[in-house]
């Protein structure tokens, strides 16, 4: 009874924290939106509009009202799913974003698979060989991934693997030749091309995906490697490891069954967080690879100064981050028996 009560209270507390953070997020995007030097009315009516029309739109946007009232209006709009209209496409911003999101998710999902597939074994290897050459090697390798400007590595990779060796496809999600051949069902090109049975398009998509996904994955593996190593070191230092060895288990068994088994939950939360930070790399890598996703949408709108679109993108990134934090928290509770 009292434990349930406590759990309810902590859940309510957490919900409250999230609500406050979300509100703050909205306040931040609102303030940033207000700071911009560009005139929002001019952006809508154009340079040649008469003062009457200007005044009309000015009032329509509620710019004559006090700031707090404008904020409440913004809050109400966002809560009812109205994020404004894109100046460039004339469509609701949220519709545009939903349209480009699958491309980014496809990229990020492949990247995180590569990042985790690379980072976790490397982290375990480093921990097991602490302070010996494999540890140093892994450390330098992962710091390298953490230090490279990803937009630059993307270009170098394009020069080498696309222009030089011709191993992979160039920019975009597929060859120019195939564009428009696959009906858009889910937005995920790999899935859509399989559903419609166009395996050559599928192959082309993989061919274009592999390079940017590998680069993003490598950059995110740095964080995963480092955390895996430190979690493993914690476990390897425990007494139960010695007990397991004394019991007669092999070294491999103690490492993978006992120590690794215990850090799986922590790893899930780390990978979830790494998935979120991929969005940052995606903004840059999508620009380099002309990948028609979220990142490119954000940067192309930044350049033309479409603030509705930009602020919505920023807001969405914030929400995704909060959601992933929450998710990793929940996963931790779900899988770790001690937190029950």
């Amino acid at each position: 009874m009292s434990i349930n009560h406590l759990r309810l209270r902590s859940a309510l507390g957490q919900a409250g924290t999230i609500a406050v953070t979300l509100l703050g997020l909205l306040m931040l995007t609102f303030i940033i939106g207000r700071m911009m030097p560009a005139d929002p009315v001019r952006a809508i009516v154009g340079e040649e509009a008469s003062p009457e029309i200007y005044q009309q739109v000015y009032l329509q946007l509620g710019l004559d009202r006090p700031v707090w009232e404008q904020f409440l209006r913004y809050l109400g709009d966002v809560l009812t799913g109205d994020f404004g209209t894109s100046i460039r496409t004339g469509k609701p911003v949220i519709e545009d974003i939903l349209h480009v999101m699958p491309a980014t998710m496809e990229l990020a999902t492949f990247a995180i698979l590569i990042g985790a597939g690379l980072g976790i074994p490397l982290g375990v290897t480093a921990a097991v060989n602490k302070d010996r050459w494999p540890d140093h090697l892994v450390r330098v390798f992962s710091l390298f991934g953490h230090s490279m400007p990803i937009f630059w590595t993307g270009m170098i990779a394009l020069i080498v693997f696309y222009a030089g060796l011709g191993w992979v496809g160039g920019s975009g999600r597929m060859s120019q030749f195939y564009i428009g051949m696959v009906p858009d069902r889910t937005g995920f090109l790999l899935i859509d091309s399989l559903i419609s049975g166009q395996f050559d398009v599928f192959a082309s998509a993989i061919n274009h995906l592999i390079l940017p996904a590998s680069l993003l994955g490598y950059s995110s593996s740095a964080y995963i490697t480092r955390m895996t190593r430190s979690f493993m070191l914690d476990q390897l230092g425990q007494e139960y490891m010695t007990t397991a060895r004394v019991k007669g288990l092999s070294r491999g068994q103690t490492i993978w069954r006992h120590a690794f088994g215990n850090i799986r939950v922590q790893l899930v939360t780390i990978v979830a967080l790494a998935y979120g930070s991929l969005l940052e790399g995606a903004v840059l890598i999508e620009t380099v690879f002309a990948w028609p996703g979220f990142g490119q949408y954000l940067t192309s709108n930044l350049i033309i100064g479409d603030m509705n679109a930009v602020m919505t993108c920023v807001l969405i990134v914030g929400v995704i981050f909060i959601a992933l934090n929450l998710l990793s928290d929940l996963l931790y509770r779900l899988f770790d028996p001690r937190t029950k």
Partner: protein
Amino acid sequence: MTAAPVPRLPGPLLAARNILTFLLRVPTSAFGLVVLTILIVTAGFAPWIATHDPYVQDLNNVLQAPGNGHLFGTDELGRDIFSRLVWGARITLTIIFLVSIVVGPIGLIVGTTSGYLGGRFDTVMMRITDIFLSFPSLILSLAFVAALGPSLNNAIIAIGLTAWPPIARLARAETMTFRKADYIAAARLQGASPLRIIVKSIMPMCLPSVLIRLTLNMATVILTAAGLGFLGLGAQPPLPEWGAMIATGRRYMIDSWWLVTFPGLAILCVSLAFNLLGDGLRDALDPKQMNRR
């Protein structure tokens, strides 16, 4: 191998020397120190090191491959890339310096006051840092620069605005451990005001770890600044900022690889250097690690 027992250090200078010796003994952090020294020297003596004027165009000599009097070749306007990189070191150093003097004090003030005062104030301040932490630094900087208008100064302001929360978190955690210490209680009993206690007794204690954290953050700061430059939101042409150089070189990259390769290598080296140095500093100041080596 066990080091000789460390004697009590008489002064900060000796401590600095010990840390330096430790850093130089490990190849990775030694590399970091060497690269940063080169960066500082290059920036300081740029007029003497550069072989050409970084802004002078030579349209008879565009897109020259490395060699022929141009160490790293020339760009699309015939400017010497090596000289532009050398002058770009000044911009990089300026970014690092300005961001540090913005971020360090903000983080320190927010962290120590909220850690010392606690209560409502602490809750509010930590919620605010949470909001800033819920964005990847590049995305939030993008948003700020978009609002302020693209320029080098605005990029620095934007990075400063987004880079303080981790510092504040750290300073707060440190403060929480000192808050209950006897010497703080003594100061309070003597009638010292909270402001005086924070400034005189707590801030100096937090300073070393804040400095280390700043060093580690510099790698991110450099990458973010370069990313903003690359997206055309940071330093504007013709400034020889490395990220912006890559952005303009991108159009020619397939035929003239040197336009993007060398500025990228420069960014990679400096950011790697900060990461390695930060890593080394962490080891150097961790007593457990010190004894093991």
